[in-house]
């Protein structure tokens, strides 16, 4: 007996919607199983996670706070995916964006000028974009595998930022802790009411719309889609593939850089060794789930923001928030497997002699 796939005449429409939901639910159930192995009550843990993420208005606002960098990174990774490019380096690009924006904020500690935050915004985008250019240029000009280069540069970027935090930018009044000084308030993104939700949320939504129109209504977007779907056709049509690869990596890195700018300017208000808890990696799943429909990216980012916040609340039960990454990996596994079922029927077949 062996499992064989049989192509459906038409992809199952029902399954197109059922599969992602089922993947998330199943991943949570398997995650509960792992929690049980870890020695805790899985139902209590799942409940804690759900309440911790969506149960109270405070929880909801915290989930929204995490949603902001996830939208930026999700768009970043998704844009690259659209062109069949793998940008696994959003994490490092985020750190570089945070580094540049934070550097500006520290240079103008008393900056009350209206231009400081816009400048930090631009700097964050540029720094992330330039960091993204490295794998982009290597891919476009020398055909070097961008998965490996973009990923390895994450380690380099984090070490780079840490050097400054532990070294020249360390707060002299910080009792030796690895933090920079707190930014002047002129470098803080305004927040909504008493919450920690900052203006970055509005930026993220605007950027989502911009990317939507970039892909749908511009020549650039058209080229990205053709290169992603049919590189052969793109070549025959005389498109400049190398240029598109470079531009996509620059924009993609820039978007991830904005996530970093938002985190340090809107939430942390200084530089510290940990600026992102894997937003750049979570973004890979978000991008894959949403197939770069910007509206979907926003919604999926909100769900994953909830997963992150819910995961932290498990610390109260003495559990490691690493469960979040188990669940993320499982969602991606199940989604991949499930997508096959949309197009194929699966059944057992007796092996022929």
């Amino acid at each position: 007996m062996s499992l064989v796939l049989e192509k459906r005449e038409t992809p199952s429409r029902a399954l197109t919607f059922v599969v992602p939901v089922a993947a998330i639910v199943l991943a949570l159930l398997i995650g509960a199983g792992v929690i049980a192995i870890g020695g805790a009550n899985p139902w209590a843990a799942l409940q804690e996670m759900f309440l911790g993420a969506f149960g109270t208005s405070y929880a909801l606002t915290e989930t929204l706070v995490k949603t902001i960098p996830l939208i930026f990174c999700g768009l970043a990774v998704g844009l690259a995916f659209k062109a069949q490019l793998w940008n696994i380096g959003a994490e490092g690009q985020l750190y570089m964006g945070a580094f540049a924006a934070g550097g500006l904020a520290l240079a103008f500690p008393d900056g009350q000028s209206w231009w400081l935050i816009p400048l930090m915004f631009v700097a964050g985008f540029l720094a992330g974009g330039l960091w993204g250019l490295i794998p982009g240029l290597l891919k476009a000009l020398l055909n070097v595998n961008e998965i490996i280069t973009s990923l390895l540069l994450n380690y380099v970027a984090i070490l780079w930022v840490q050097y400054f935090i532990y070294g020249p930018w360390k707060d002299p009044k910080g009792y030796g802790f690895p933090y920079t000084a707190v930014f002047g308030e002129g470098a803080w993104l305004p927040t909504f009411g008493d919450t920690r939700i900052h203006l970055g949320l509005v930026f993220a939504l605007v950027v989502a719309l911009l990317i939507f129109f970039l892909l749908r209504s511009t020549k650039m977007g058209y080229e990205i889609r053709v290169i992603g779907e049919n590189p052969q056709a793109a070549r025959y049509a005389g498109m400049n593939i190398a240029r598109t690869i470079i531009v996509v990596f620059f924009i993609s890195g820039g978007l991830a850089g904005l996530a970093g700018m938002g985190e340090v300017s809107g939430v942390i208000h200084r530089l510290q060794p940990v600026i992102s808890t894997g937003f750049g990696y979570t973004a890979i799943i978000i991008a894959w789930l949403s197939k770069l429909n910007p509206l979907v990216t926003v919604i999926v980012s909100f769900l994953f923001g909830g997963l992150l916040v819910g995961g932290y609340s498990l610390r109260a039960l003495g559990l490691s928030e690493a469960i979040v990454y188990i669940i993320q990996g499982l969602i991606l596994f199940l989604l991949l497997g499930g997508e096959i079922l949309v197009r194929y029927r699966l059944h057992w077949q007796r092996r022929r002699a």
């Binding site: 192995i37 390895l152 690493a322 188990i326 990996g329 991606l332």
Partner: protein
């Protein structure tokens, strides 16, 4: 730098290169069958955690190594099922495996963070060979897993190029349709080598936690799984070149560590970057070479095999 320090650095080179060697060899086997598994980092982490945990529970590092090896193979089977049977996207499945492995090892390994173990794999001097001047100290005063890796590489070379199963392996990776027509079980071969690749990744991970630095820390592999992916390209899918590449990186690691120990003026953060930057440089060089000399990847690498119904 005196002679003793050079010898110590070279000895550390072998030690630092060995986990990379196991993992790279495993990926070569999987990729030779046509399966790209980017989940090395995750499988290594699971191997490192499981090996440490089992050694802690049983007091026997060898049981730890064995279970870690099987654990790496077991999680590789998830990837195998998705990409071989279900024909899923190999890159994304590998990334999922990386996240899953990092999460699972972090979650289940929490109980042994910072808990010391009494028994781990300690160096054993080989009689006679160990007393060769200089070379003995570098190559033959290591732990047993290093010696096993010395044997494994020629064995793998022989297996791939000189045996019938090795021929089948290459056929499946180059042209699965022809291999199928020859009567080779394409799916079976791919499952087998993806599993073996996972086993070796688990073993490489266990080497880190049971021999290299006997301790378990979350994400202690620090990108070695990704460096190994680059090494496969550097090695042009050849086990012997994988040995050279692994020791080259072992050297980078050992030298930067030595420099930190003697306290050079370069901040440790920059020294810690060197393995990653070196990998990128090597990758650029290797990509140019493979393009120039047409040492391509196995032709069917990354592509699902669909049997044509007759």
């Amino acid at each position: 730098m005196d002679l003793q320090m050079v010898l110590a650095t070279l000895s550390a080179t072998i030690k630092a290169g060995t986990p990379l060697l196991y993992v790279t060899l495993g990926e070569i086997l999987a990729e030779r069958s046509g399966i790209l598994n980017l989940g090395l980092e995750g499988m290594m982490l699971i191997g490192a955690m499981v090996g440490y945990l089992i050694c802690f529970l049983t007091g026997n590092p060898w049981i730890g190594v064995l279970v870690a090896t099987l654990a790496g193979g077991a999680v590789a089977l998830i990837h195998a099922f998705l990409v071989i049977t279900l024909r899923a996207q190999q890159v994304v499945s590998g990334l999922a495996l990386t996240m899953f492995g990092a999460g699972l090892s972090g979650f289940l390994g929490k109980v042994v963070i910072g808990v010391p173990i009494a028994n781990y794999l300690k160096p054993v001097t080989v009689p006679l060979l160990g007393s060769i001047p200089y070379l003995g100290e570098i190559f033959f005063q290591q732990d047993a897993l290093v010696y096993i890796s010395y044997l494994l590489i020629p064995l793998a070379v022989f297996w791939i190029y000189r045996t019938r199963p090795g021929l089948h392996l290459r056929a499946v990776g180059e042209n699965p349709a022809t291999a199928d027509a020859m009567g080779i079980n394409v799916y079976g071969v791919r499952y087998l080598y993806t599993f073996l690749g996972g086993c070796l990744a688990g073993l490489g991970g266990a080497y880190l936690s049971l021999a290299y630095t006997p301790v378990w820390l979350e994400n202690m592999t620090a990108g070695r799984g990704w460096i190994a992916i680059a090494l496969v390209i550097f090695a042009a899918w050849d086990p012997f070149k994988a040995l050279l590449g692994s020791y080259l990186f072992g050297l980078v690691d050992a030298v930067q560590f030595r420099l930190q120990a003697v306290g050079v003026a370069v901040p440790s953060f920059f020294l810690n970057m060197t393995p990653y930057l070196a990998t990128i440089l090597v990758l650029i060089f290797a990509t140019r070479e493979t393009l120039r000399r047409r040492l391509g990847a196995p032709a069917a690498l990354g592509l699902p095999y669909v049997r044509e119904e007759k």
